[in-house]
């Protein structure tokens, strides 16, 4: 059974190592799908529905096809079918230039019969609302119900009860690189450059769509500009690119527009929860009753967590999804968790206040429902509270003086991220000393490429830059799963590690007989092989591999579950400053203490924590998909009305990547979970008025302050 060894023996693991692709990215050398060009390539565009709900009766592509420069046009919906939200794909064209393609989609004619629509969640649940599905009466999915313990007995035992409604909006992914593909056919071989989180999943989907053997399809994702859960397959746009390329007999690049990205490429569902919860006099959560729903668009789910993190013995929850005429939800960075955590952590603070307890103490008492996580969480409480200066928070919320008031709050999160089987990888040592690590995973920007190099280099006694990492390509036939659920590191690195061990063993078996020793007597470090019992007996890496002659070492690995762990805990603390005259909330500092298992690359780990916090604060304060009930359209499908946090909104972030053992774990998602709850609680601590609805905009803050003033 393999192990990562002791921390003190690691030269590379746990250090701060710049990502291998960093220089290429900042100098623009890195080629994203957007940058891929092929000889004779055409440009694809999709016509999205300008109407919200309609039956398409006819599509006429002839005018578009007749435009000079247009090489192919295809329908994406059959007459007789319905478009059920703005932006839903109607047809696509490919043309010699992008400008011609844009003109061509204006020439696509279609007839339709408009149908009634509803885009407001509350309105969708009223009796008069148009019914969007036969199997969702009242536009509501069958509720999921969870009952544990005895809810009535629980409330009977409660000394304090809080009843509140929390709401979070729909958030869209806003990946900097939009969804897109470049598709090229060579006979019946299809090559697709894809901005995807799942190279092999995309290959399988396309092979099935075109009824091809999988080995006829090659998918390449050298670099990609963010997916956050929205890019697990080719989608309508990827299949359209390949269809257009086949029809036009030329490569086609089709990138989704920013507007369509907001409308059709996925989102985090909204959440509304009515919750009633009680705690005993000594501060134990005892009863939790929740009815909640959200919209995942026309037919998406809208699940969220609750109760969350803390153990509650008596629980009743009922959750369902509401259909509206809008694009479907997709997985989005910790699906269901940030919205659930915002509700739970707001509730925890409200209960603590009712009990007259310190909010941190109340959380400590209500331990995490899982023992390992609880132990780590208690440490995280201590570290985070010290870093933010928890003692400085207002004992009486809103007690600060002056126009600008500060407050401190906290939030919690948990995540799986343990990885699983299904990755194949090879580590190859060539006679000239070069080393290749090959697997079919993809780097979403998380840094897995560099992590693979670190692990192989550590095992072989080399430097990360000595390892050529080949990922993001299906051609070698070494499959790996999609990068979702923070599963990549836990799925990929055990296989890489065991492959590197096996390759090293083979090299030792070559050298050992020449020295008259057993292979087990050899070690590799600092670019050399040496004898464990006599460190002066050495041979350089290159000299050693030179002995391979015409041979090449190429070893596979296996998934060793002992090398990875899941179920991580995270805690965040936020300090904010609220301008009580303008309502503007300015984050001052966010401390993120994250259980990271074994940190492989501290630099990229902290980077992921920073990214999660930024996305979380953007969710807390800024992002909101606004639908217009009258027209059924999204009002802000752009970046000049839909605000995503940028440099000016980002405060000091203290990322504490906590090493909690010698097993890897994925942390792409968990650091985005606690942020909104921590900020909401900090705002309350600053002004003494609770905002129960995200995003916490200046307008909402001022209205709440005015309400309080009246009371």
């Amino acid at each position: 059974m393999a192990s990562w060894g002791e921390a003190r023996d690691s030269r590379l693991i746990g250090q701060r190592i710049p990502r291998l692709s960093g220089a290429d990215k900042v100098t623009g050398k890195a080629k994203y799908t957007f940058d891929v060009n092929q000889p004779g390539m055409l440009y694809g565009r999709i016509l999205g529905s300008p109407v919200t709900h309609a039956e398409i009766t006819a599509i006429n592509l002839s005018e578009a096809e007749a435009l000079p420069g247009v090489k192919a046009a295809i329908p994406l919906i059959e007459p007789g079918k319905r478009v059920r939200y703005q932006g839903q794909e109607i047809a696509a064209v490919a043309a010699e230039t992008d400008d011609i393609a844009k003109d061509a989609i204006r020439l696509i004619r279609f007839d339709y019969e408009e149908l009634p629509y509803v885009v407001d969640v509350e309105e969708a649940m009223t009796e008069d609302a148009p019914q969007l599905h036969e199997d969702r009466p009242g536009n509501q999915s069958k509720p999921g119900i969870d009952e544990r313990g005895d809810i009535e007995a629980g409330f009977a035992e409660a000394a304090k009860v809080v009843e509140a409604t929390y709401h979070a909006p729909v958030q869209t992914h806003v990946s900097l690189e939009t969804h897109g593909h470049v598709a090229a056919w060579d006979g019946d071989n299809l090559t697709v450059w894809a901005s995807t989180q799942a190279v092999f999943g995309t290959r399988r989907d396309l092979a099935q769509h075109f009824n091809l053997p999988e080995d006829k399809v090659r998918v390449i994702t050298e670099h990609m500009g963010g997916g956050f859960g929205s890019k697990f397959g080719p989608g309508v746009e990827g299949r359209a690119a390949a269809e257009l390329a086949r029809k036009a007999e030329a490569p086609v690049k089709l990138m989704v527009t920013r507007k369509d990205e907001h409308l059709v490429s996925g989102n985090r569902p909204s959440m509304t929860q009515h919750v009633r919860a009680g705690a005993t006099k000594d501060g134990r959560l005892i009863a939790y009753d929740l009815r909640g729903y959200g919209t995942g668009g026309i037919s998406g789910g809208a699940g969220f967590t609750g109760p969350y993190v803390y153990h509650v013995p008596n629980v009743r929850t009922e959750k369902f999804a509401v259909s509206i005429n809008a694009g479907n939800a997709r997985a989005m960075r910790a699906p269901g968790h940030p919205q659930g955590a915002f509700g739970m952590d707001s509730l925890m603070d409200e209960l603590a206040e009712q009990l007259g307890m310190d909010a941190l103490e109340f959380r400590r008492i209500n331990s995490d429902s899982q023992p390992r996580r609880n132990e780590i969480r208690q440490t995280e409480y201590t570290l985070g509270a010290r870093e933010i200066g928890w003692h400085r928070r207002n004992k009486v919320p809103g007690a600060g003086r002056g126009v600008k008031k500060r407050g401190i709050g906290m939030g919690c999160g948990q995540w799986g991220g343990g990885g699983g089987k299904g990755t194949q990888a090879r580590v190859t040592i060539h006679a000239d000393g070069t080393v290749e690590a090959v697997t079919g995973t993809q780097d979403l920007g998380t840094g897995i490429r560099t992590v693979i190099a670190i692990i192989v280099a550590e095992e072989l006694g080399l430097r990360p830059q000595d390892i050529t990492v080949k990922i993001g390509d299906s051609a070698p036939g070494l499959a790996s799963g999609g990068s979702g659920g923070s599963q990549t590191i836990g799925s990929v690195t055990p296989v890489i590690k065991t492959a590197a061990i096996a390759a090293k063993q083979k090299l030792f078996e070559h050298i050992a007989p020449q020295w008259g020793v057993e292979p087990e007597a050899l070690r590799a470090a600092s670019g050399k092989l040496y004898l464990a019992s006599d460190r002066t007996k050495t041979i350089s890496w290159k000299e050693a591999t030179g002995h391979l002659g015409m041979e090449t070492i190429s070893e596979g690995g296996y998934w060793d579950e002992e090398l990875r762990i899941g179920d991580v805990a995270g805690v965040q603390f936020a300090e904010v400053e609220v301008d009580t005259e303008t309502g503007v909330v300015k984050p001052i500092k966010i401390v993120a203490v994250q259980d990271c298992g074994m940190v492989v690359n501290r630099l990229t780990t902290e980077s992921q924590i920073n990214g999660g916090v930024i996305m979380g604060l953007s969710y807390a304060l800024l992002e909101d998909r606004v639908m217009d009930a009258q027209t059924g359209k999204m009002i802000n499908p752009n970046m000049s009305d839909y605000k995503v946090a940028g440099t000016m909104e980002i405060p000091e972030i203290k990322a504490i990547a906590l090493d909690t053992g010698r097993k890897v774990t994925g942390i792409g998602e968990p650091p985005t979970i606690p942020t909104a709850g921590a900020i909401a609680n900090a705002v309350y601590n600053a002004i003494g008025v609770r905002i129960r609805e995200l995003p916490i905009t200046p307008d909402k803050v001022l209205s709440a302050l005015a309400e309080k003033g009246k009371a």
Binding site: L622, D624, I635
Partner: protein
């Protein structure tokens, strides 16, 4: 094409530009920095048949100081006003307002004249130009005329400029030594436009407010002078109470706008808050 097709002219003299404008009438739009016109054309909200690009008319660009006033060519960019030593020294509120616009790229290309004639209610220049009591010189088929800033902005995206006229210069009197100005703004988070911007010119003698001029944008569908504030504070001591009482009138009689970024009540509140902050800053 991204926008619809159009005929393009690039005259090198003002007379040539005016002739083109007369010939093409309503079919034509004048292009300066392009930061308002081009986006609306890309969205096809505007599809002019003719574009008259006036950026090659050199006479319309730059700042000079003849007899006690600044003369600003309509094609002067925001960045030129932000960075001009002359402007910084003589009328610093102009540099300050320019610096609050968009980002570096926008300031490098966008022009003061273009912004003023576009009359976007959330643009930054109108508040300052109003507070400075600037004169706007325009040229048309019948020669030149001067429009006072307070008469210039009429309603949403509408000015006193006639269809065949071009704004050529902005004339700003250099304030006396006892007059100071400041422009404060709350940014709309996503676009950087003014959710509310307040420009104040305060003339004081000792602790007394001799005169105050307050321009406000972002609140109503057109930028305005907050005359209620001005008359309330004139002649009074610049105490915190007097300033606060005057600032309360910053949105009096104004129909505040509503959109997804703010309610009318929120906008009206911002006008008061920023008027108070701007005056207090100048009074301290």
């Amino acid at each position: 094409m991204i926008p619809g097709s159009f005929e393009y002219f690039a005259p090198t003299s003002l007379n040539e530009a005016l002739d083109l404008l007369k010939t093409h009438g309503d079919d034509a739009k004048v292009l300066a920095g392009g930061h308002s016109l081009i986006p609306t054309m890309k969205l096809r909200l505007a599809e002019p048949a003719v574009i008259i690009d006036i950026t090659r008319i050199g006479d319309l660009r730059g700042v000079s100081e003849p007899d006690g006033k600044l003369v600003i060519g309509a094609l002067t960019t925001h960045y030129e006003l932000e960075s001009s030593a002359l402007v910084q020294q003589k009328v610093p509120i102009l540099s300050q307002t320019a610096a609050a616009i968009g980002d570096v790229q926008v300031r490098n290309k966008g022009t003061i004249g273009g912004s003023l004639v576009h009359a976007d209610p959330a643009a930054d220049w109108p508040a300052t130009i109003l507070a400075l009591d600037a004169d706007l010189k325009v040229a048309g088929p019948d020669g030149e005329r001067v429009i006072k800033a307070t008469d210039f902005f009429q309603e949403l995206y509408t000015t006193a400029l006639e269809p065949e006229e071009i704004l050529t210069e902005i004339h700003v009197s250099i304030p006396a030594a006892n007059t100071k100005g400041v422009y404060l703004k709350q940014y709309q988070a996503a676009s950087g436009f003014a959710l509310t911007g307040v420009a104040v010119l305060l003339t004081r003698s000792g602790d007394t407010c001799q005169k105050v001029a307050v321009g406000v944008n972002g609140v109503a569908d057109v930028a305005y002078r907050a005359t209620g504030v001005e008359s309330e504070l004139a002649g009074k001591t610049l105490s915190a109470e007097n300033i606060a009482a005057a600032a309360e009138k910053a949105a009096d009689g104004v129909d505040a706008m509503e959109d997804i970024h703010a309610s009318p009540a929120y906008r009206a509140n911002l006008a008061k808050v920023y008027a108070q902050r701007a005056i207090a800053q100048l009074a301290s």
